[in-house]
């Protein structure tokens, strides 16, 4: 199994470390040829506008769309979730394949960044998942066929899945809890 982590900018090392600790081959992706032969792709946290500029300049958008269309598991955390969404209410380059409307910086600025325990029924074993939200986006609405995986108490959607696509507002890669990575890898193995 070989997983790519988009390494244009942001917290890609954190994902790679968790994957390698689980004996999964993980590579940094900066150029289109590095997307070949992947079994799955993770788009990390970082700045979505920076990802967009660099992905367009280096011809990564279409190959990443093709990977999603081919049914390969793709997971976006925070900026990665923005990058996967079809609609974000402003013009900036996106992969734009997941049927969700995402709102950027939805909770406010950095002083509003927060940590909280979430109940995520899809994770095994089931126990609170400690989630870190940093200038985080939220999912304002989901289309048909999108399964909501986690919500805040007020009903705000913060994790969802649509077939091979997975999105989280928060950063499982910043904690020592690998259950979300295991959940993603299970999806990769089953394909």
């Amino acid at each position: 199994m070989k997983i790519g982590v988009l390494a244009l900018q942001g917290a890609f090392i954190e994902h790679i470390k968790i994957l390698r600790a689980r004996d999964v081959e993980a590579i940094e992706v900066r150029k289109p040829e590095q997307l070949r032969d992947l079994d799955g792709l993770i788009i990390p946290g970082g700045e979505s506008t920076t990802f967009g500029k660099l992905a367009v300049e280096y011809g990564l958008i279409e190959p990443m769309r093709a990977l999603c269309a081919a049914g390969k598991p793709v997971w976006g955390t925070c900026a990665g979730m923005i990058f996967l969404a079809k609609e974000i209410g402003r013009a900036q380059p996106l992969i734009g394949v997941m049927d969700v409307t995402v709102k950027r910086n939805a909770f406010g600025r950095q002083v509003d960044s927060f940590e909280i325990d979430l109940d995520i029924p899809a994770l095994e074993p089931r126990a609170p998942f400690h989630a870190i939200f940093i200038r985080a986006p939220l999912i304002a609405s989901v289309g048909k066929g999108v399964e909501v995986l986690a919500k805040l108490d007020d009903g705000t959607i913060v994790a969802a899945r649509q077939g091979n696509l997975l999105a989280t507002s928060f950063h499982p890669e910043l904690t020592n809890d690998a259950r979300f990575h295991k959940f993603f890898l299970k999806n990769v193995k089953s394909r």
């Binding site: 890609f12 920076t50 500029k53 402003r90 950095q110």
Partner: protein, 296 residues
């Protein structure tokens, strides 16, 4: 923890982790902030004058006018940082109240306190601080800084001091990695560094927070040099808006920071950028005019 916890160590350090592999650019107006964002900057630093102008014009350099900071915050969606004077915790309180995303307690401004830095644990907003060596870095972490940057010599366009400080910090980390606990205590005394943070750094083989380079980076090759030396990202101050073609140079430095290990791409992005900032050899600056020596 079923209630939201804000201002925690994890969210402070976490934002810096999201900035890694990116370029943080000094801007003085909303227009410049837009140019920086469009070029792919991962954050901007709002300030009144870029370091090259502070150096030339002299006088007391203070926190930027809040009106200007708000204009910049409204112009872009990326994080906005702003500088407070060393030890000026009220400037920091004002910046926190404005809602900036990170405060740089910076030697580029005129220090407000020649002994003490800000007690950064008291704030919800995270701080980045400058360092020339590991001892200075770990003292700042002890005070609550959630991100470091090596100082370099701001406003010169001369990368030599940035290299010196990055080599010093990263070299000291390599040196302590194989030491015994009793030897580490001696080094802690020698460096004036908190022992627990030094021990943690030795165990991790890196600082426990993100470490960028700053001060003198003016070309795409400068940015890639710092990345190859082992920093997590770069700050570019005067290097962009004091050059002939800021938009083009900004974009080239962003690409060079991402592709820092790819000489073919570095060669491509380094072409046709026009003149870099004219620059000032760091060696020619008398010690009392050096910015890097501020901070203790």
């Amino acid at each position: 923890m079923t209630e939201k916890q804000v201002g925690t160590w994890a969210v402070k350090v976490g934002l810096a982790q999201m900035l890694k592999g990116g370029v943080i650019m000094d801007v003085t107006t909303a227009e410049q902030a837009k140019i920086a964002e469009d070029a792919g900057a991962c954050a901007v630093m709002a300030l009144e004058r870029v370091p090259a102008d502070i150096r030339r014009e002299g006088g007391v350099a203070r926190m930027a006018d809040p009106t200007k900071i708000i204009e910049i915050m409204e112009a872009v969606t990326i994080p906005v940082m702003a500088k407070a004077r060393i030890g000026h915790f009220v400037e920091a309180q004002v910046l926190e109240a404005l809602g900036v995303d990170y405060i740089d307690e910076s030697e580029v401004l005129t220090p407000a306190d020649e002994e003490n830095h800000i007690d950064k644990h008291q704030f919800k907003v995270p701080f980045v601080c400058g360092c020339r060596n590991l001892g200075e870095a770990l003292r700042r972490l002890g005070e609550g800084a959630a991100m470091m940057r090596t100082k370099g010599e701001a406003g010169t366009g001369d990368v030599v001091e940035a290299v010196r400080h990055a080599r010093s910090v990263l070299g000291e980390i390599r040196r302590i990695q194989n030491m015994r606990p009793d030897e580490l205590m001696h080094v802690a005394k020698e460096l004036g560094a908190p022992y627990e943070l030094l021990k943690q750094t030795a165990e991790l083989g890196r600082m426990p927070v993100v470490n960028f380079a700053a001060g003198g980076i003016a070309t795409p090759a400068d940015a890639a040099l710092m990345m190859q030396l082992g920093v997590d990202g770069v700050f570019v101050g005067s290097g962009i808006f004091k050059s002939d073609d800021p938009a083009k140079r900004a974009k080239a430095i962003v690409e060079a920071t991402t592709h820092f290990n790819d000489p073919d791409i570095l060669a491509k992005v380094s072409r046709g950028l026009g003149q870099p900032m004219s620059g000032l050899a760091a060696r020619a600056i008398p010690e009392k005019e050096q910015l890097a020596v501020r901070g203790w």
